[in-house]
């Protein structure tokens, strides 16, 4: 029983980590008023660059760093389109998603002789164990013997919450998403605030993707991310655009995945088809939303381009 619980927490942490990172990225962008359906694309490009740079430099940490840099670069077109050009942000996000997967797989095929996946990375981010804490039953083996990305994710939720609620920049971000005109009147550049917020989203989502290709997994291919950016977006909305909320939502989703996988191990498949077990996370999410969470109030100016001098 204890063993099963340990496994459950383990899967929860494994699945929630990339979702938390990407959703935190989405949080900054959307709280600043820029819709971010491009999380999927940022994760993809992050996973790709992390794998490639790890292969070429032989260092997973450089790989991780490069994912952040490339993620930021990749967020710029989305920023330019949605902030300067006042384009429809959903449209630009969809374009980014196409672009990321297209470019990543195109380059992999070009670099590796038509191969659909990169070679296995020579080094990976290894699990770091925190002595004593990792002995805690059930939670210890997964939470305190985790990948660096998991620690990063937890740290980023805390730091992100502090930034968002306790610093002037955070106040500007939130104001830019609710009443940008008022912020502009106060002498703050909306463009600057939104640019930084979108760049943060690129960086964090790419970090989440990197974890998939150089920590949990060890290569990049076109199914490495496979929809997790959209689940992260769902977690962001589910968590009502709040750091604590999205943390809970991502954990809840990971937990449900854990339940569906445990079901396989304890031979529930003798009674329930495996496909039905696989539906669990999605059904649970719907039930939770319909039953308990309900109305999602998005930031008031989400998706609305800001025109200088407008009210």
């Amino acid at each position: 029983m204890l063993n099963l619980l340990t496994n459950l927490v383990d899967v929860t942490v494994l699945y929630a980590t990339p979702l938390i990172l990407a959703a935190m990225g989405g949080l900054f962008s959307e709280r600043a008023g820029v819709v971010n359906i491009a999380l999927e694309g940022f994760m993809t490009i992050g996973a790709f660059s992390a794998a490639i740079f790890t292969i070429f430099t032989g260092s997973a940490w450089i790989g991780l760093l490069s994912a952040v840099v490339v993620g930021i670069l990749f967020s710029l077109p989305h920023a330019i389109a949605s902030i300067n050009w006042r384009a429809d942000q959903v449209v630009s996000g969809v374009a980014i998603n196409f672009l990321a997967l297209g470019i990543a797989v195109y380059l992999v095929k070009r670099m590796y002789n038509g191969s659909a996946q990169t070679p296995v990375v020579p080094v990976k981010l290894e699990q770091i164990s925190i002595p004593i804490l990792n002995r805690i039953p059930v939670l210890g083996p997964s939470l305190f013997e985790a990948y660096p990305t998991t620690y990063l994710a937890i740290a980023i939720v805390i730091i992100g919450a502090v930034i968002l609620y306790k610093t002037p920049f955070g106040i500007h971000v939130r104001a830019a998403g609710i009443h940008p005109a008022a912020l502009e009147t106060a002498g703050v550049s909306i463009y600057r605030v939104r640019y930084i917020a979108v760049m943060i989203s690129g960086a964090l989502a790419a970090l989440g993707g990197a974890g998939l290709s150089i920590a949990v997994g060890s290569e990049f291919n076109q199914t490495t991310v496979a929809g997790q950016g959209f689940i992260a977006l769902a977690a962001l909305i589910f968590g009502k655009w709040r750091p604590g909320g999205l943390l809970l939502a991502a954990t809840f989703f990971g937990f449900s995945v854990g339940l569906s996988l445990i079901g396989q191990i304890i031979k529930l498949t003798n009674y329930v088809p495996s496909e039905v077990l696989s539906m669990i996370p999605y059904v649970f999410t719907i039930l939770a939303l319909a039953g308990f969470v309900g109305r999602a109030e998005s930031p008031a100016s989400l998706g609305k381009p800001y025109e200088k001098g407008s009210r």
Partner: protein, 332 residues
């Protein structure tokens, strides 16, 4: 209306500037092979790649002209097969059971052309211009099961499947029978990821199985199975093992790979293509590659971690299967 017209004109312009080439060149006289992959693509580290290796060997030895087309979606199979048939290729290969219905259609429309399909017997109705190649994966999986049964210290072994489907259940059935035969006390834990491309899920499931006491896991799950190798690498070498599939996968975790169930798609495709050139191919028939034909088996690298005495027992099982003494079930 004007909009429609101008876009049409624009399209014409593009056609005009880029020139109107294309069209099928017919290839006469020379021996030519075409190959259509399933959605896995050419370098899938699995049967497509293996088939292409076989065809490449034909090219090198027989000076054949070869070409491959990758399918992006199931809808691409018919156009891709048709493209080769129109070119008049000496033989066109359809790789993977997913192409079964498409191949039936195209081979009927091009009754004078020759085709081959891998991993399907077309439901038993094989047209006269088609040769169907299938593998006795259950036999190879039986050997892997026997190996796992003999090597396990915990009397618990795992099976990691991709999408629940008859083909994968064929692996599972053979594997389970092998475990049972070699070690009646051993238990098999089964898990399906319901995906062939989800390494994270493959990893979580493997971790769960290992944590639940299994010490050896056999995977038949495509890209999902990469997760098994990622997981086993983090564990104590010599205690936890992975068994690969399709090709020798020991490169994914050299110190943790016990063996791999090899499917010699390359050999089968090479043999049949060569026979086609010599006009000896068994058209209209199903050709099965099992242990006897060396169509399934295990690689040399198995000897790295398995001592001679166990290998001997595996060879013994192999002989019993070939002689028909052991009948391996092909479904659950």
């Amino acid at each position: 209306m004007r909009r429609v017209l101008s876009v049409f004109l624009f399209l014409c312009l593009v056609v005009g500037t880029t020139g109107c080439g294309g069209g099928g060149q017919t290839t006469t006289g020379k021996f030519t092979i075409g190959m259509v992959t399933d959605v896995g693509g050419l370098n899938d580290q699995s049967f497509n790649q293996s088939a292409w290796a076989g065809i490449t060997k034909v090219k090198n030895e027989q000076k054949a002209d070869i070409k491959a087309l990758e399918s992006k979606r199931d809808e691409d199979y018919i156009p891709n097969l048709t493209r080769f048939a129109r070119e008049g290729r000496s033989i066109t290969w359809a790789i993977g059971f997913k192409l079964d219905k498409a191949l039936t259609d195209v081979s009927n429309s091009f009754a004078n052309q020759k085709f081959g399909i891998v991993d399907s017997n077309l439901g038993g109705k094989i047209p006269k211009n088609v040769v169907a190649v299938t593998f006795k994966e259950h036999e190879g999986s039986f050997i892997m099961g026997a190996l796992a049964g003999l090597k396990t210290k915990t009397n618990k072994v795992g099976f990691l499947g991709g999408v629940t489907s008859p083909l994968i259940q064929k692996f599972e059935a053979g594997y389970k029978a092998g475990v049972k035969a070699a070690n009646p006390n051993a238990e098999v834990i089964t898990a399906y990821a319901e995906s062939f491309g989800d390494a994270t899920k493959g990893r979580s499931l493997s971790k769960n199985m290992f944590n639940s006491g299994a010490d050896i896991i056999f995977q038949a799950s495509g890209g999902t199975g990469k997760g098994l190798f990622d997981e086993v690498k983090t564990r104590e070498a010599g205690k936890y093992w992975a068994i690969g599939v399709d090709m020798d996968q020991s490169f994914l975790a050299p110190k943790h790979t016990l063996s791999s169930m090899i499917k010699r798609v390359d050999k089968a495709v090479y043999d049949i293509s060569k026979q086609t050139k010599e006009n000896k191919a068994p058209m209209g028939k199903q050709v099965e590659f099992g242990l006897k034909e060396n169509g399934v088996g295990y690689p040399e690298s198995t000897k790295n971690f398995v001592d001679e005495n166990v290998i001997k027992q595996l060879e013994d099982y192999k002989q019993q299967i070939i002689s028909g003494k052991i009948k391996v079930p092909s479904s659950l």
